[in-house]
Symmetry: C2
Subunit: 700 residues, 2 copies
């Protein structure tokens, strides 16, 4: 199109990508950017009407690049650009790169926030910059009006224009559009005088990531359509989380969540599978419930973002295998019993309406692949987000829930497993446990001398030993212990010597503190006496056993993966999920929930599954990336490994019977080894066999 | 797979294709056939369970081929083939080519009628042999049962088996199957002991002509599924015609038709378009009506053929542009007014359920492309069937209806047009005209001496001058003249001098025959006086004018196409459609409806549009063929051609004012030129201007 560049041609540098090249004087900056592979959006195809292709000249002497960039080095605004500025407004210093041409050396900034007609602008939900290459593209074209001498149909002439102006070949068309095409082409919008005489100006929504290899016209609008949205959604057993994103700017317009209404059929995954098995219409009811919740949540994010739900053209979903199956209308019964067969493990595509999702009629829906029967598309999303396969070091990625999903690997090899941790980490099976909600104790410290506790409660900023705590906590009350505090209190009890490395509360300590109280044949630790009407909050021997079983299950899974990888330590740890965001890595490590690691390399990453979905939404290359990676991930069925039982038994101890925690020991003073006889005098052999029984229970 | 052939290896010749090759002793004949590109069906993939791959040894000394073929040159039946013969039965001399191996030189017959489990076997509706390459293939595979160590989903393992056994790569799956896959894989059929232990035997229905380039699993069955059907359907304005075909054997199982229920909204196409324009729900009602009729007709052909409609996996539809649009739910209003814009002209694909067609849930539906606004997918079907583009000679293909579709061309170039002939040829606008139905006169002869007529009536074998005619015709009565007889009676009137070359009934002839009767200022020809209660049947001057206008419109279209092609004569003529099947080519030519041509080269081809649909159903290569050809066909808008008016006026004369019919004259004694003054004494100039007005009316 443009003549080949010459060594004397001006040099243009694009930021932030740093890509550079020489271009003849007069080259439109949009063409220059595209020829270098710099992503600049354009809907109108260079007609200076969409305003999507904005850039900014950076003035100055860029000695490092040997470029002196000035405003004289870009062409002045022409009539088209002036019309755009007059009609739609153009921020100061901004130029339309389709109209502005190279006149000399330039440093050009491609802003990442080119927001057109936005109702509401919000802070980004993630600070990650995702390179954009969305599956959906808006393409404005002008179609020739029909002519008796040319028998080509309206749709067929539209395709000709899309091929001529945008290079789309072999375009297919969504079936719902076929009866509408003639009316859309013939609709004249009064406010679009830009459309040429004798031509029909329309914007085609083109989807270029169909499971077929051909691009699809999924929707069509009269005149210039200048915005397209997508949703990224993580369907968790407890919570459904969603981002609403502009596919043109990459901007997150709204993020929100709602509780999964399937909870009424069963709190945890297995009880929902049982519900399906026991009730003839159970699967249908659960599918309907989750789809309705997703539709309601779409309404919520659209209202927050001031967006019409029919402007959503692409949807990406992740979820654990059972949520994934139920959402897609697949009976999850097989996932509830060995060999835990997924109906389908690969990535899938649908028309959104096939899954009853109410967005644009031609919108598409993509689900990430599942890794294995208990390691779902959510783990795949987290894997895409954190990218162990992009690391040189060995990364451990853990998503803790009633079923922990564990991924371990680096550039060379990635392995994955699940561990049935049970609900203890979420506060269930714990005498004073509760969900993380106002009134729940979330932080605990125990004084090593006095053994007195102090704690913090959700809804209050003060610690319990600070003045005004009682008044401050009055509104919420102090109602129980949530997951993060259970980890902390058990870890603190271990660090202060209240419990032994085997997790036995040392009744002898009752002499030192009235908080060690007998409880039948064992002892408890009294965390809080409770005001009138409030519960007495204690940590019982059974609570500690439940936490030991849960953490041993998780650690055993991690350890087996480490054995598969042939490593004795990991380089980085990522905690995904809500639970991971609240637990203190130090206490998790003291408990031996995770292996030894430099604490500065342990990070909570929030809803990494949702971030992975967002990445797949904004950049279709990420879909191919995770599809390829998932097919490479080796799944380990921990319970079938011969060494599982021994590893599990060792992991019952705090932090571990055999594994050392040297890096942790550098930062935390671990107590000296202490063995306490099990109350009732049952010796080591009997206790051992009880732990073995527990290990077997985990396997079955 | 097999070692490379050697010059000393046995020679195998396959009939009827005549393909031959050398194969090492021990090569299965199925492999030998396939390696030569000889089409032999197989569903079970060589397990000797489907019985589809039957062949026959031709014994004898085939001197021409230098082959002595004997039964000793094929391996004896092995245990698998014997089991098949015992369980399912194998006709005498038939062998399963997957099991029988080459032992010496052989001449092998591949029967075209390998019918398995057929309920009803019928005579073929067309004697054309269509080489089979259906879009749908049945593929039996055995899928590995799930294993905890291999996390691949059930669907994903199915794909692995289909790739391993059948070579399918990048398989996609129909969305409706996803929730059903696990149950189908786990269903054991008691009568299928062939399935290997620890494997799931299933038959995948694979569609390899999706508009995406990837093959699709459109359905799945437990065990061996051994039959798949398709329908080919022509939606005419008056009649809907359908073939039900086995996609595995190519056998036509049933053919039937039903009247188009849209007739209640309007007899002809334009009145249906008007109905849509005048009634808010008109389009919807007409779409629903035609789809319901198609579904009912599917029920009818299925009942006739003893076929379950859910075993229909592929559907091909043709129709004129308005039927095509209404069937697909597209408003045809644009087709009712210049510039007659088609919403879509290219071939289209759908899931059958998207068009409300009730067949297998994963069935596909294909519509042939439309050539132009008035030359539809039916004309494309007829073009595929008759193949002007496959001819060296110049072929004229005419489908006469209220709107005639005309295609003219050869290997080098094909042009097409439509002509608004109006309903005269169908008996409308004719004083005694009626549809072709029992009681209608269908054949007419006039004695050149006595001017007495004789005729034949639908429902009676006798001619009217034969003894017993009156008794024989009593049941039906003699109620009117149908299209074919109108052509004949006018032509006979011309040949006997009753009318002039300008179509004027010669009142002077009344002296010679009482059948020439005055009728106001003009004359009529009395064909039949009529018995009690029956109408008097005459041919009026107005009737002749109506026929002249219709035939002039058709001829003018043909002539313009001939001018575009630069030819003065055509080599062959094909009459498509029901009307074409009944008219006598000789009379059509005497009338000047079609140009001069050797009468032996004029053939009626019946429902060629339906035959084209059948070809596209049985061989997907024919889809690509007609898509390519339609894109090459040049559409001529006859009414816009400057010479149209003069050609039309010339074509009002019998057979034509200026064009000669030398080949016709060799076989039919044409009358001497005769000019009769228009009754009432209006001279030639006035008559000319009236004809010009008629020509203009045709153009508007």
């Amino acid at each position: 199109m443009n003549p080949p560049p010459n060594i004397t041609d001006p040099l243009v540098l694009f930021m932030p990508s740093g890509k550079r090249g020489r271009f003849p004087v007069g080259t439109p900056l949009l063409d220059a950017a595209r020829s270098l592979g710099v992503y600049v959006e354009s809907v109108c195809g260079g007609r200076a009407t969409c305003g999507r292709c904005q850039i900014e000249v950076q003035e100055g002497n860029f000695a490092k690049h040997k470029i002196v960039s000035t405003l004289d080095h870009i062409s002045p605004k022409g009539p088209k650009e002036e019309r755009y500025e007059r009609v739609r407004g153009l921020p100061e210093h901004r130029r339309l790169s389709c109209s502005a041409t190279v006149q000399g050396d330039l440093v050009i900034d491609v802003p990442q926030d080119t927001v057109i007609n936005a109702q509401v602008v919000r802070k980004a939900a993630t600070d990650r910059v995702i390179e954009r290459n969305a599956a959906v593209q808006l393409c404005y074209v002008e179609v020739e009006e029909p002519d008796m001498h040319k028998p080509l149909g309206d749709l067929d002439r539209l395709k000709v224009s899309l091929e001529k102006d945008w290079g789309w070949k072999d375009l297919l068309v969504a079936p719902h559009l076929i009866p509408k095409i003639q009316k859309i082409l013939r609709t004249k919008l009064p406010d679009q005088p830009e459309v040429s005489e004798g031509k029909w100006g329309v914007t085609a929504v083109v989807h270029r990531d169909m499971d077929s290899s051909r691009p699809f016209i999924i929707d069509l609008y009269p005149g210039l359509k200048n915005e397209a949205y997508g949703i990224a959604c993580d369907i968790g057993s407890t919570t459904i989380a969603m981002h609403l994103v502009s596919l043109l700017s990459g901007r997150i317009v709204a993020s929100s969540g709602t509780s999964n209404p399937q909870i009424r059929f069963g709190e945890d995954l297995m009880s929902r599978v049982s519900y399906v098995m026991m009730n003839p219409d159970g699967r249908e009811a659960m599918t309907r419930a989750v789809r309705e919740a997703v539709n309601t949540l779409i309404g919520k994010v659209c209202e927050e973002g001031g967006v019409d739900r029919h402007d959503i053209f692409d949807c990406v979903f992740v979820g654990n295998p059972i949520m994934h199956h139920l959402f897609l209308g697949i009976d999850p019964t097989e996932l509830g019993q060995a060999p835990f067969a997924l109906a389908v493990s690969g990535a899938l595509q649908f028309w959104a309406h096939e899954i009853d999702i109410e967005v644009a009629p031609g919108a598409r829906l993509y689900t990430l692949p599942c890794i294995a029967g208990h390691v779902g598309a959510d783990a795949a999303g987290a894997t895409l987000s954190e990218g162990p396969y992009r690391q040189d070091g060995m990364m451990l990625l853990v998503d803790v829930g009633t079923n922990a999903e564990i991924v371990l690997g680096n550039r060379t090899r990635v392995v994955a497993a699940s561990s049935p941790t049970g609900p203890a980490f979420e506060g269930a099976e714990i005498s004073s446990g509760q969900r993380a909600a106002p009134g729940a104790i979330e932080r605990v410290r125990i004084d090593p001398e006095t053994l007195e506790p102090r704690y913090r409660v959700i809804g209050t900023d003060k610690w319990s030993d600070e003045e005004g705590f009682e008044e401050a906590s009055w509104a919420t009350g102090v109602t129980g212990i949530c997951g993060s505090a259970i980890i902390e209190v058990v870890a603190e009890m271990y660090l202060t010597g209240i419990i032994s490395e085997d997790g036995v509360i040392d009744g002898a300590m009752a002499e030192r503190s009235p908080r060690i109280v007998p409880n039948g044949r064992t002892f408890s630790y009294l965390l809080r006496e409770g005001r009138q009407g409030e519960p007495r909050i204690t940590v019982t021997q059974n609570d500690i056993r439940a936490i030991q079983l849960a953490k041993a299950a998780l650690y055993a899974g991690v350890k087996l993966l480490m054995e598969k990888q042939g490593v004795e330590a990991v380089d980085t740890i990522r905690f995904a999920g809500a639970f991971g965001s609240f637990i203190d890595p130090k206490y998790a490590m003291v408990l031996g929930l995770i292996p030894d690691c430099d604490l500065s390399q342990v990070k909570a990453v929030g809803n990494a599954a949702g971030t992975g979905a967002l990445m797949a939404l904004l950049n279709r290359d990420h879909r191919r990336e995770i599809e390829t990676q998932v097919s490479r991930i080796e799944k380990i069925e921990t319970a079938l490994e011969p060494s599982f039982q021994q590893i599990f038994v060792n992991a019952m101890a705090l932090p571990n019977k055999v594994d050392a925690f040297p890096k942790l020991a550098e930062q935390v003073k671990l107590p000296p080894r202490k063995v306490v006889e099990q109350p009732g005098g049952d010796g080591s052999p009997r206790r051992r066999s009880r732990e073995e029984r527990a290990a077997r229970r985990q396997r079955d």
